[in-house]
Symmetry: C2
Subunit: 159 residues, 2 copies
Amino acid sequence: MADPALFEFLHTEMVAELWAQDPDPGPGGQKTSLLVLEGMGFRVGQALGERLPRETLAFREELDVLKFLCKDLWVAVFHKQMDSLRTNHQGTYVLQDNSFPLLVRMASGLQYLEEAPKFLAFTCGLLRGTLSTLGVKSLVTASVAALPACKFQVVIQKP
Amino acid sequence: MADPALFEFLHTEMVAELWAQDPDPGPGGQKTSLLVLEGMGFRVGQALGERLPRETLAFREELDVLKFLCKDLWVAVFHKQMDSLRTNHQGTYVLQDNSFPLLVRMASGLQYLEEAPKFLAFTCGLLRGTLSTLGVKSLVTASVAALPACKFQVVIQKP
């Protein structure tokens, strides 16, 4: 069986490598690294979306797709389910993980909050990529109020 | 359970990203990307080496350490065991994988052989890093004669 920590170790190295290339980035440089991570996550999400078993090939409702992310995708990548899923029933969903694995190893404390975005960009892309494979176009952003909890906001883009 | 393809997808993205940053590298540029991948592999290997369960904390012989790589490490990362392990009994070991997962998705054919090194650098580092955690200093190189088989040569550095 795959060691569940392998993905986390590799993710850590990826983030470190992208920041090492540009150790003192201005706002623009940092943004580029975040976009690169998001793009990598998107493509991994697309590939996983094609691979993960689905009970039905076509989901009946948008909410079914989001539940698939919270359960199947999260277990495949993070070995746990998302803690909560809320929606405004108008195409916006908030997925909350109370102990997000990629933040757990970070020291907690307000002073580390500004480091959080680089550990979330890949996963935003992962969600967007998986949704894309499932035929749903979306915008995904993440926010952290108290480490290691975080929220992913998914806004569905209507055609 | 972790999806076993997750590591492969992420590895593919890492390689693609490092080459995208330097799409037409001279010999020097390409060498840098290989070193970066090898370094990432080394640190992931170090971390995994600390994490993987060992039957005995101290291996009695060098050969035990190499068997640990061929079995435990390979299963943790690639979900299979190495196909063969040979040694000259003078500190050089050849580990052969007849169907190395990171090369399987590559099209076969002699014309792709020159692309192989970028898919092997991370794993060379992985072996070197795990050995390092186990207290063994080494040099690890890889060679491919016929895709997707490959050989990793480990030369133990005596203190």
